[in-house]
């Protein structure tokens, strides 16, 4: 009986894959669900608030995603120049608030990486939308290259214990509530 259930779920999964992937096919070098998140260094936020949020040492200039003191990370690849990111900014803030107001606050951390954006450009975005979570400038497109020059916005949910990408979302994620429910689902089902 169990085998039959598993078989039917796998069939559903394959049908979903056939429907989904042709619509959003992207370069093979873009890290996606099932891949390991790149291990390269990220520039640590200068502000103590964000270091504290991520659980990073005060004296660290760089960090790796796995250094974040949590179980999962939601990584947002965005740009202040991207009109879709601009339209979605308040929804992403709402996602941050939903996480912070829930039992998942200590388990899930949200951060943004901004390819091609200087620290000044990121500060404009932060001030305009009153973003409360860490945003990391990538003015020289280093992370953009690492991420396969993926378009923005791009969201990844990463298991910090293994580095595995559990979910990727190219383009806006819909509502914060839907994305939060996905995170909650992952929290319940990942051992």
């Amino acid at each position: 009986m169990l085998n039959k259930n598993v078989f039917s779920q796998v069939v559903i999964m394959l049908v979903a894959a056939l429907l989904f992937y042709p619509a959003t096919s992207i370069s093979g070098s873009v890290p996606a669900t099932g891949d390991i998140f790149p291990a390269e260094d990220l520039k640590a936020p200068e502000e103590g608030t964000y270091r504290q949020y991520l659980g990073l040492d005060a004296d660290k200039e760089t960090f790796k995603l796995k250094d974040i003191q949590a179980e999962f990370a939601v990584v947002q690849i965005f740009s202040m120049y991207c009109p879709i990111c601009q339209r979605e900014a308040r929804e992403v803030n709402e996602l941050y608030n939903l996480i912070q107001d829930s039992d998942a606050a200590d388990k899930v951390k949200l951060l943004g990486i901004a390819p091609g954006n200087s620290a000044f450009e990121v500060s404009v975005y932060r001030e305009q939308y009153d973003v409360q979570f860490p945003l990391i400038p990538d003015g020289e497109f280093e992370w953009h290259k690492i991420m396969g020059e993926v378009g923005t916005p791009y969201f990844l949910i990463v298991d910090l214990s293994t580095g595995e990408i559990l979910e990727d979302q190219l383009g806006p994620f819909g509502t914060a509530q839907d994305f939060f429910e996905l995170i909650e689902h992952i929290l319940k089902h990942v051992d």
Partner: protein, 192 residues
């Protein structure tokens, strides 16, 4: 195992339901281009060549109309529906308050015709600054400023003109890149 299958199916269902639509799917990828393909004809201290061009809202925009009133940041972009251009003016839109605090209006210029610019800019949102067409005579203003490329597109160039109509900043960016916003804001701050 079953948990993992449920999780994968849940994730895929979410991906299917999320809206992945993006107008940039319609953007034409031009590849790596020669960084600069023209010779600038204006310099700091020159009187800015005047122009009067049709805007996407149906009006006519004349540079000298702003004289004595506003600083002007002229933003030439190479072409509509291309990658970097489609990510440049939306940033200026977001930074609108900064430009306004510095008593500055942007004039966005492209050598595309008005209908093309209308369709393209509508995909990017409502701009607080005018977008004008230098389509006909083709690239006449771009040519006068020395930013018309040999393929008929324009450079990605920024010219800042003060309230007296004098050019105070000239920057021709590598066409494959965006000029950094902080540099432009600093140049405008120096006019204060």
């Amino acid at each position: 195992m079953l948990k993992k299958v449920f999780l994968i199916v849940f994730c895929m269902a979410f991906a299917l339901s999320a809206n992945a639509s993006d107008f940039r799917e319609d953007v034409f990828y031009v590849g790596e281009l020669k960084p600069v393909d023209s010779e600038i004809k204006v310099q700091v201290g020159d009187e800015a060549p005047d122009f009067s061009l049709p805007a996407v809202d149906g009006s006519k925009v004349t540079l000298s109309d702003y004289q004595g009133e506003k600083n002007i940041m002229i933003s030439f972009i190479p072409a509509a529906w291309t990658p970097v251009c489609s990510d440049q003016w939306p940033g200026y839109n977001l930074a609108g308050d900064l430009f306004k605090q510095l008593d500055t209006v942007i004039i966005g210029i492209s050598v595309d015709n008005v209908p093309t610019l209308y369709a393209w800019t509508r995909q990017m949102g409502d701009f607080w600054f005018p977008v004008v067409s230098d389509f006909w005579p083709h690239g006449e203003v771009a040519e006068e400023y020395g930013v018309l490329r040999t393929d008929g597109t324009a450079e990605r160039a920024i010219i800042i003109v003060d309230k007296q109509g004098i050019i105070r900043f000239v920057h021709v960016e590598d066409i494959n890149l965006r000029p950094e916003l902080g540099m432009l804001i600093n140049a405008l701050r120096e006019l204060q």
